[in-house]
Assembly symmetry: C2
Homo-oligomer: 220 residues x 2
């Protein structure tokens, strides 16, 4: 591992966010879970420490988590994506935002339903402008497998973003939890990874499995 | 192999179409290449037979190819997709159309640019209605690797469609060329496989490789 970061996991009380937080805490990063309800964030941090006593984890509000972090990770449900970003916007300036949002529309979550803008994450980059470098990543990695610290996760992390250094950092954070990251182009390409999540859910249902993933073939 | 089909490959003079035709001819299927220019279709069939002397391959117009085939495969460029479908529409009734169209928009083919309808293939299913069962498949399989008959292709075929029996047939045709097919939901999910192609092109450019592919992990 290159160095330890202070990571805010906004939505870290949810399935995907708590699973990512667990893996990053295991890798030695400092975790601040952000939630609409700071008490729930604190409870999620306590749960994490119950699993990993050596973890450096705490919980607070979205705004305080984003303000205290070097890198902010967004793992809230799609319906809360924009309001959460607007709430923490002032704290994001100059930082990297890793957005794992998937535009799932319940109840048909196995059906690809991309937003009119094409990609939920690209829409956030557009909203925030150049002051924040947004990277799309971690949409396709199953929380079910991430939670199981005894096993490596058999899935690549597709990393999209307009800034190469920001993509590199997200790739390093993936590597820190034992995942291979693959640079997959500009932020608009996040449409592919977002759509892929519904496709993987569809595969889970059809084949009665818990966490289908993807691998890119043909790489050196 | 279960049985041999007469397959029309509309656009079988192109890179993807000719590569699919080659693999299916090798598997023993009867190939009719369809082209706007029947002379070019005949030439492509002759080239195929030069590589595989035992192949049953011929070339003709789009309409005649579609009329003579049991299963029609569409591999024309995105800009020609709708006009080609409209030209052969009468011959498609009651048949299965396997559409491998990818909505690439030159020159930025490494950039996901899905059409306003969301998916190019879903738009064709909508256009044709219930009289034709449309299946989306083969968008992510590299022509470069398909052409190399000496090697198996390290890529899964994501099969999307609203009709399960039609998906099964496309899956069988994938298996006939040694590829694993994965059922990936309804026709709208083709947005994911179409978008994925631009993402794979982006990966090819970034990593200087010829044909990135994908594998689904976690399957039984």
């Amino acid at each position: 591992m290159q160095r330890k970061y202070t990571l805010a996991i906004l939505g870290g009380t949810g399935q995907q966010g708590s699973a990512l937080a667990l893996r990053w805490a295991k890798a030695g990063h400092r975790i601040i879970i952000g939630s609409r309800d700071p008490a729930r964030a604190t409870a999620a941090a306590e749960q994490l420490k119950a699993k990993l006593p050596a973890a450096d984890a705490s919980g607070t509000s979205y705004r305080e988590a984003a303000a205290a972090a070097e890198v902010v990770v967004l793992t809230v449900p799609y319906a809360a994506q924009r309001t959460t970003v607007e709430e923490v916007r002032a704290a994001l300036t100059g930082k990297i935002l890793i957005d794992a949002t998937v535009p799932l529309v319940a109840p048909k979550v196995a059906r690809v339903q991309l937003p009119p803008e094409g990609s939920a994450v690209a829409a956030v980059q557009k909203l925030l402008g150049k002051a924040v470098r947004v990277v799309s990543a971690f949409q396709n990695v199953s929380a079910h497998h991430l939670r199981d610290l005894a096993h490596d996760v058999d899935c690549d992390v597709l990393v999209c973003g307009d800034d190469v250094a920001a993509r590199d950092l997200a790739a390093q954070l993936a590597a820190d939890m034992g995942l291979r990251a693959v640079h997959a182009g500009s932020i608009v390409n996040s449409a592919a990874t977002e759509a892929l999540t519904s496709l993987l859910i569809s595969i889970n249902l059809r084949y009665k499995i818990a966490g289908a993933g993807i691998r890119i073939t043909g790489l050196p």
